[in-house]
Symmetry: C2
Subunit: 222 residues, 2 copies
């Protein structure tokens, strides 16, 4: 059983993923800057006993086989510095961050010199860890409501066949979620725009769970 470390695992996106992975029987390690506070948060989730542990970032990075980067984009650089201080050879990192900002009630993209948050992260990750994108377009509100069906598609891209395969396997753990492989890591530029548009749709249409399904793919695997 793969151990999934979720860095930022008590945040909006991270906590939903942690609870949903634990519900499938995966071993989840919630990595937090403040493990004592995180333990209180996690205790309130009523997760299956023993499926979710809490650790510092350092311990979560060391123990996770898959490392999910789920901190706010503004905190990513500090986290990457921490990852750089560890031996992460052979691990796979999954980027779920979205570089958006809210100004005057409007959601907009944060300009990232590398073209996307994922390429920004790739440029700062150790060479011996592979990186993929997943879960970027799933509404945090929906993820957190851990019993609500996701019922949509999830876009995966990555820097290697290996990282994409790991991401697709992770997506496949969650029921009613289909992974759509969209290719190289640079496709994160489009995926992050999809998230931005989904948030804009939420605000304009006064909903909270706008998300995507691709029509025209031949099968919808379970």
């Amino acid at each position: 059983m793969t151990s999934i470390a979720i860095l930022g695992g008590t945040g909006h996106q991270g906590s939903g993923l942690a609870r949903r992975f634990a519900a499938t029987g995966a071993r989840v390690l919630v990595g937090s800057r403040d493990p004592d506070r995180a333990r209180t948060v996690v205790a309130a989730w009523n997760a299956p006993i023993g499926m979710i542990d809490v650790a510092s970032y350092a311990d979560a990075i060391d123990q996770g086989e898959v490392i999910v980067i789920a901190v706010p984009f503004s905190s990513v650089d500090g986290l990457l510095d921490e990852i750089g201080r560890h031996d992460v050879a052979g691990k796979v990192a999954i980027d779920v961050t979205v570089p958006v900002t809210f100004t005057d009630g409007t959601v907009a993209m944060i300009e990232v010199a590398e073209g996307s948050a994922s390429e920004h992260i790739r440029a700062r990750l150790p060479d011996n860890v592979r990186l993929a994108v997943a879960f970027k377009t799933l509404p945090a509100h929906l993820l957190e409501d851990a019993d609500a069906p996701l019922d949509c598609d999830d876009f995966v891209c990555g820097d290697s066949d290996e990282s994409r395969a790991r991401a697709i396997a992770l997506v496949g753990l969650l029921p009613e979620l289909r992974a759509v492989d969209v290719g190289p890591l640079s496709r994160a530029r489009s995926i992050e725009q999809l998230t931005l548009l989904a948030i804009a749709i939420n605000r304009r249409h006064k909903v909270r769970d706008a998300r995507y399904c691709i029509v025209g793919l031949p099968t919808r695997p379970a």
Copy 2:
């Protein structure tokens, strides 16, 4: 009955729109740089008699109440020069262009200084014509197969409530297509990325009609 001028109406996107609008009973004017050639093309469509006329760009711009900009992005500036030589006060322009390029078998975005093709067009259109975006993410191949159900969502944005309302009404003419209003014209940046990603999905998954449906909106109007 609104008269819809489709500039570039024999191209991939334009011809599908022309045929589908004509099939709903709308009056369509196919604007072409070469009307004689366009007449031959249109004759082969077996469209309802009298529903589709062919005209020069100049005549189509003068006669259309709604002007659909459906030329390749590389030809947009010349077309905008032509539009600028006409009295277009009160007309609404609909931008369906997508600034993508194919290099070494990979599809990529053309960098547009204004942020999107739509904002590029807005900057060059006369002030007295309103602009909206529609139909950008519909696969050209599917549009051209005029009897095939579209069965997806279409993203509309625009520079005014008026232009968005006209675009939403146009989308509403086509069966099995739902308009999703995503707000101001700058949202075209995201919409154009959706098109890029759909093309990438087509190529990667060896399909031709990948398109989007939004899950989480309360109703799906007919």
